[in-house]
């Protein structure tokens, strides 16, 4: 439900940036990770080289590795063919993961994967619909309302990042990234997301490490 609001904003943002609807939908279908989709949208509009876009988007998805590693041992059950699990993890995204980490261990082993797939699939379809609705809504509204809808795209991240980031590393990385990212953009727009993340993230990591030692 809440994630759908994010995709509504993404759809509106795509419309506001003159990004085609089919490509926005395709990205929800194939990427299904809102931060990566936002990065792809913004970078392709800024005219970044395709290879740089793919590398940057892939890096924003690195969080899925520890998430999958953490969730999978509880999902596995001997009765399932491997390809089903490989197909199922494509649907793994933040919302489904957080819910599954809570609910799945309470279920009997053979019901876990079906529960996860059912939940994640519903999410996936809802996000596809929300992308289209946001896009079409933004296209049919007067400019004022359209600006409000497009604004939901970045606002979603501001709220969720400030509200849900708890770890010391996370908070430090947000602060460093928020400063470094826009600064680099003024010098090298097409590299700003990648460089800003690498520099800001490394700064934050080093700062927390030094404080831990001190």
């Amino acid at each position: 439900m809440v994630l759908a609001a994010g995709y509504l904003g993404f759809g509106a943002l795509a419309n506001g940036s003159a990004f085609p609807l089919w490509a926005a939908l395709l990205s929800t279908l194939t990427i299904f990770a809102l931060p990566g989709q936002l990065v792809m949208l913004e970078m392709s509009i800024a005219g970044a080289a395709p290879l740089v876009i793919v590398i940057t988007v892939s890096l924003t998805a690195a969080r899925f590795l520890p998430m999958t590693v953490a969730l999978l041992p509880t999902l596995r059950s001997s009765g399932w063919r491997p390809w089903r699990i490989y197909a199922a993890v494509h649907l793994l995204a933040m919302t489904g993961w957080a819910a599954s980490m809570r609910r799945v261990p309470e279920l009997p082993r053979e019901e876990r994967l079906p529960w996860f797939v059912g939940f994640a699939l519903t999410n996936w379809v809802a996000c596809l619909v929300a992308t289209a609705v946001g896009y079409l809504l933004a296209g049919s509204m007067p400019p004022l309302v359209k600006q409000g809808l497009v604004f939901v795209g970045p606002l979603y991240f501001v709220l969720i990042l400030t509200g849900e980031t708890r770890s010391r590393h996370g908070v430090a990385a947000l602060a460093c990234g928020a400063v470094v990212g826009p600064l680099i953009y003024t010098v090298a727009p097409e590299w700003s997301v990648l460089l800003g993340g690498l520099i800001g993230g490394t700064l934050a990591y080093a700062a927390v490490r030094r404080r831990r030692r001190a």
């Binding site: 606002l155 947000l174 953009y185 520099i199």
Partner: protein, 107 residues
Amino acid sequence: MLELALLVVACGLGTYLWRGIGLLISGRVRVDSEFFVWAGCVAYAMIAGLTMRIMLLPGGTLAQTATWQRLAACGIALVVYFVFRRNLFIGIAAGFVALIAVILLGR
């Protein structure tokens, strides 16, 4: 059009890669190592930097709004969000209404 489609699908593959590798190595590797902590920092910094950049230096439709208008609406949304115990839905709705209100007021 084909190029854009290929780009999107390639981004999708790059994203799936992490899910797939995670599945492959699950049960065999520790995820609390320093490398993953650093990778997490980079991912957070990327998204924070991009979000901040869109807020301060947007393109497209949002470029027609003033920076102070976006920041004011963002500030109002943040306050409402925390007052309503981090209710994302109410926070976003507040930001949406606030941006439209400040634009109307600025006319």
